[in-house]
Symmetry: C2
Subunit: 156 residues, 2 copies
DNA sequence: CTTGACTCGGACACAATGAGTCCGAGTAGA
DNA sequence: TCTACTCGGACTCATTGTGTCCGAGTCAAG
């Protein structure tokens, strides 16, 4: 049960991009967070493939949000970077061994798989309830000047 | 976000042990589910270390539940096998880089970590709400003779 | 009491996945 | 046209999970 460490970077980048008014290169995002630019690029590519951010190449290119920040949930970012498949996968071991359950009695998933699925749904619902815009507002919060400082640093 | 595959085995074993009235060796549990006995032993050792099952050595030894089945939650088993630490770990990258947030403003976890924590709590709460006894009752359900068949196979 | 066989427990290899890096293709501007 | 800058995918290495093995301990039977 270990989530990819790149999820944290991707979420921070999404929050930063929500404050930018022009494309931001991956290198700049990397030095802002003091992380490896080569590896951060991989996470941004994942976000791009998922359609969350849009990439612009060439001079003055970079990344920008493909949608408004309030239309991108935390779950979107997590699934884009870490994969969308559930953590638990049922291998149907109840249908194996000497006391195997007959297939006609396995039309529904076993109770264990159902329990795991319910927990997974709860987890996803909690992440779907928060958007990048919510995160950005909480980050800035009271000191609104931090917002302008960040925007200034991005354009410089 | 991949959970250890041994969690499924451990949960099935817990359900089986709730039906047994005497210690069951790991080898028997393994052939019942048609899985590697050597690897299943590792999962059972994890459950034993967590105090969920009790091991009896020597002739006619084996594993048995250390507590009543309704006192063991699915979360207990998951944490015992897969570890209890949350999937997301905040590395505090907000305190790094040229625009680092000053430490006096970081008394509380950042919004990203908070969101992840809430989702994690929801996930754990869902798993804590189901006990091994609940699983056993759902498995047997209408056909109660399967219960006696299983118990007979275990003692044979 | 001795013997024996059976059990768990931890220590030991192997494979798969994630972390991290690098260079080439493409593009916008000068 | 040229140059410099950007992304994108391919490559390598470390870490973790998967799977296996043998020795220490223990209970029951003779």
């Amino acid at each position: 049960m270990k989530m990819s460490g790149g999820v944290e970077w991707a979420l921070h980048c999404a929050v930063v991009l929500s404050a930018a008014d022009r494309p931001v290169p991956a290198v700049r995002l990397a030095e802002l967070h003091d992380v490896s630019s080569s590896y951060l690029a991989k996470q941004l590519q994942a976000l791009s493939r998922a359609g969350l951010i849009r990439a612009a190449q060439g001079h003055a290119g970079g990344y920008e949000l493909a949608r408004p920040a309030d239309g991108i949930t935390v779950l979107d970012v997590v699934e884009a970077v870490d994969g969308a498949q559930p953590a638990f996968t049922c291998t149907e071991i109840r249908q194996r061994g000497p006391l195997a359950t007959p297939p006609e009695a396995c039309l529904r998933p076993c109770p264990i798989a159902r329990t795991m699925s319910v927990a997974d749904q709860a987890w996803r619902a909690a992440l779907r309830a928060v958007t990048v815009a919510d995160l950005a507002q909480e980050v800035t919060g009271d000191n609104t000047d931090a917002f302008t400082v960040l925007r200034g640093w991005l354009t410089a």
